[in-house]
Amino acid sequence: MSADVSDLSLVRRVQSGDKGAFDALVRKYQHKLVKLVMRYVRNPAEAEDIAQEAFIKAYRALPQFRGDSAFYTWLYRIAINTAKNAVVSRDRSPIEYNIDRSTDATEESYDMQGRMKDSETPEGLVLTDEIRSTVNAAIEALPEDLKTAIVLRELDGLSYEEIAAAMDCPVGTVRSRIFRAREAIDRRLREVFEGGLGRTEDMG
């Protein structure tokens, strides 16, 4: 099975004019990309800005993407270049945030201030911590075979076939175990998102 088959099917949809498919790609890779960019910058908010720029560059360049490499490899290169350029330009001219919103406050500068505030508010940090603790607690509560399957997949990055070999079971069983593990964690996670702190869903 091709390692990039699902990404490629989403990419093809974007290339035929379906913007919703690109949203799915962003949701899938946003954490990976922010983590990648944080090798170059320390501030999470700045890393998100760079990741955002990288995603938008990727969207605009997507008509030229032929699928010769994996989508994430291509996106990775765009993000690295964007991060390097951002660091260089930041070193040349330090970022100064205009806090006077009454004068010529564009939506972009407004968003920047909003994000800076979000990342630094105790509420934002609490939500992140709550998500983390919820997921960790849900994983601890999983049966051993489900826990092993999801950890081998997400932490070690093994394919279903490799996990099947490691766990000595059919590939179909691996698929089922990983799905059931995700379902159990997601059930707990949904309660967090939908229980008052679910701002991620409301901010659109």
Partner: protein, 221 residues
């Protein structure tokens, strides 16, 4: 939401779903917000397991990107079938097509040469009208640019030079026709025409514009 669909979504997230199923699910995923939210939570679960330090799991990054993308025109890649393909023409057609092209060019060249060659009966008809006074002034090099309008003037098409028997020749042939044989008359006529052709391009009395004037007329003001 049914379990089979969720199972497919989980496998697709891991790039472990067969391509045909991916196509169908990608279509649904791009439109179904609930499915997309679940897909996003799968990503958050993975990030948490990997303990990706500094990553804000409640990030609105996807929302911000989506906001920018929504304001932009949709990107559409050029379909593969739209590219020019060499293999669409059968091979046997290549030499036949080349021969047909060469034949067409040859036929066009023959037609062009026949059109350009002066026909024997058309010589009198092609005779130019007598020059007017103003044209004569131009031909003599008189400056007429002051009278010319300040606009681009399309240069006059040069009349084709033709060899036309003069009145003298015609009178001579008529006067001696009854005393000469047809062969002699034809030879005499040819000799006169040859002598007349040597003076056909003389400037005096000609209606052809001089080179200098035609150049001025071509230059836009």
């Amino acid at each position: 939401m049914n379990e089979e669909l969720d199972s497919q979504l989980s496998a697709m997230f891991d790039n472990e779903l067969p391509a045909a199923e991916c196509e169908l699910l990608a279509r649904r995923l791009s439109r179904d917000e609930d499915l997309k939210a679940r897909w996003g939570r799968y990503a958050a679960i993975g990030a948490t397991i990997r303990a990706e330090g500094g990553v804000r799991l409640n990030s609105d990054l996807a929302i911000r990107v989506n906001r920018v993308i929504t304001a932009e025109p949709a990107v559409v890649a050029e379909p593969v079938g739209a590219r020019p393909q060499k293999a669409t023409t059968p091979r046997w057609w290549t030499p036949v097509g080349g021969a047909a092209l060469a034949a067409s060019v040859a036929a066009a060249a023959i037609l062009f040469l026949r059109y350009e060659a002066p026909s024997p009966g058309g010589q009198v008809a092609a005779q130019a009208p007598p020059a007017t006074a103003s044209q004569t002034l131009v031909a003599r090099g008189v400056d007429t640019t002051q009278a010319a309008p300040d606009s681009y003037v399309v240069p006059k098409t040069l009349p084709r030079r033709s060899i036309v028997p003069s009145t003298q020749l015609a009178n001579y042939v008529v006067a001696h026709s009854e005393f000469s044989s047809p062969v002699n008359r034809r030879n005499l006529l040819s000799a006169f025409m040859a002598s007349e052709s040597g003076t056909a391009g003389a400037p005096s009395g000609s209606d052809e514009p001089t080179e200098d004037v035609s150049d001025d007329a071509k230059s836009p003001h």
